[in-house]
């Protein structure tokens, strides 16, 4: 059951077998989360450092819970209270932490490729918890787990990713993962948010959300970053909502069963309406539960066992 990968830096190039192993294992871990004692001794004696150079609530809590549920020892580090403030480089910070004998680093960083860079100068398992606008592999894995749970398979499933594709690491990881698993991926959003040449990754581009909703099995709504408003990406939140928001009115026109997902945090009333986010179609809170299970699976498969 060993993975072919040694680190989880992204889903680009990760083989189908590895993804299946992670998802299968994650389903087994879900049961652990239902027990009276929600903890197993599997990673006893292993040390995990959570290095968060960027603010995060759910990913960080989710990783921390996953590590605790596996009995690993954990150290938390956030940029705002560290020596980085004093001008220390990433390399020095990490090497100092590693000198204290840790086995694994879970890292979130604002620079694309930061996790890969880390693997060059450390001898520890590196798990990418989001690197800038590049990838966020565990989010995509939990999304795929949630879809597979609802639909039974990912093969030939029509998945629409709606919103700011250009700046979204969630979108990119999902595109890599879902296309590997044989799903049909459509991206939809304002042309300013669709990166040039994205079709080369095997996805279809569409600009009319109503048209997309006619055939999609899953709609993954991405968060709109308000900071990008008025910078040439989109004119106003109202305008965005009108064209690309998953509104109640828009959904009422669709007479099919849809699965609605959102990686959070949500801007209610912008990219998604509250009624939609809380409707029977929505599996948003389910995604959060699966997040812990998927991260347990990744940690177990990469960190458990002797490194050979």
């Amino acid at each position: 059951m060993n993975l072919s990968i040694k680190h989880l830096l992204g889903l680009e190039g990760v083989p189908k077998d590895d993804i299946n192993t992670i998802l299968d294992t994650a389903f087994s871990f879900r049961e652990v989360l239902e027990r009276p004692v929600k903890k197993v001794p599997t990673l006893q004696g292993k040390t995990v450092v959570n290095l968060f150079f960027e603010p995060s609530t759910r990913t960080r809590i989710s990783f921390e819970l996953a590590e605790k549920r596996l009995s690993a020892d954990i150290v938390n580090f956030s940029a705002s209270v560290s020596s980085l403030r004093k001008g220390e480089s990433l390399k020095d910070t990490v090497q100092n932490i590693l000198a204290m004998k840790v086995d694994t680093i879970v890292m979130r960083h604002s620079d694309p490729g930061a996790a890969r860079l880390l693997t060059r100068f450390v001898d520890a398992v590196v798990i990418n918890a989001g690197d800038g606008t590049h990838e966020h592999p565990t989010q995509a894995l939990l999304d795929m787990m949630s879809m597979r749970e609802k639909l039974g398979t990912l093969e030939k499933v029509n998945v629409a990713i709606v919103g700011d594709i250009k700046h979204s690491r969630v979108a990119l990881s999902n595109i890599y993962g879902l296309t590997t698993m044989g799903a049909n991926v459509v991206v939809c959003g304002p042309p300013t948010f669709i990166p040039f040449g994205i079709e080369k990754l095997g996805v279809k581009v569409m600009y009319d959300l109503d048209e997309v909703l006619q055939f999609a099995d899953v709609v993954m709504v991405l968060r709109i970053q308000k900071e990008r408003m008025g910078k040439g990406f989109f004119p106003s939140l109202r305008e965005y909502r009108k064209q690309f928001g998953l509104t109640r009115e828009r959904l009422e026109k669709v007479r099919r069963k849809l699965i609605i997902m959102h990686p959070g945090p949500m801007n209610r009333g912008v990219e998604i309406d509250s009624e939609v986010a809380e409707s029977e179609h929505s599996i948003i809170l389910h995604q959060v539960l699966n997040g812990v299970a998927v991260r347990m699976a990744v940690l177990f498969l990469l960190v458990g066992g002797k490194r050979g």
């Binding site: 197993v40 001794p41 177990f300």
Partner: protein, 186 residues
């Protein structure tokens, strides 16, 4: 992993007789089965447990609760193995607090699986009693663990293995002594 069958210890019929006896012993020693539940250890322990349950249901004319336990996450050799074992779902769909839990496996050897299972079980609650039933005891224990109900005592030497086959997973029933050519697990 290659293996060569050296001896067939039991066929379908005698395996069934052994399971019948185990069922009777459990009912007898527990003085009825009011607060008794069965938990089989994955993979073959599950099927042994289900068959014992079937027999008990016939004897006592009640429904027998059966759970399944996967002990991979509790094994003491995870740390030293380079090959990571497959984790499967545990499924104990009932409370085990104050119950007599009969833990069931196909073969007991070193006792390490049972130790892991005991750890796993107490995470589900606090049973009044835990007992152990096995189809085959092959000896050579590495831990102070003893089965309460034993189908067959079958001491074999290191290098030989007991292979219990169950129709549900192996397509046939039987107990065999085999010689194994090991690939390294470490």
């Amino acid at each position: 992993m290659k293996e060569k069958v050296k001896f067939k210890v039991a066929d379908e019929k005698s395996l069934d007789r052994t399971i019948t006896r185990l069922a009777h012993e459990i009912v007898e020693r527990c003085r009825g089965i009011d607060d008794v539940v069965l938990v089989g250890i994955r993979t073959r322990g599950e099927f042994v447990a289900r068959r014992i349950a079937g027999k008990i249901e016939k004897i006592e004319n009640v429904k027998m609760p059966v759970g399944v336990l996967d002990v991979v996450l509790y094994r003491d050799d995870i740390r030293i193995r380079t090959k990571i074992p497959k984790v499967q779902v545990s499924d104990i769909p009932f409370e085990i607090d104050d119950k007599t839990v009969i833990l069931i496996d196909d073969v007991i050897y070193t006792g390490r699986t049972v130790r892991a299972a005991l750890d796993a079980l107490v995470d589900y609650g606090r049973p009044a009693k835990i007992q152990l039933a096995v189809l085959v005891d092959r000896g050579n224990r590495e831990m102070p663990i003893k089965a309460d109900y034993v189908g067959i005592n079958l001491p074999v030497s290191v290098g030989e293995e007991i292979r219990v086959k169950m129709r549900e997973v192996d397509g046939e029933d039987g107990i065999f002594i085999v010689e194994v050519v090991h690939e390294s697990q470490y």
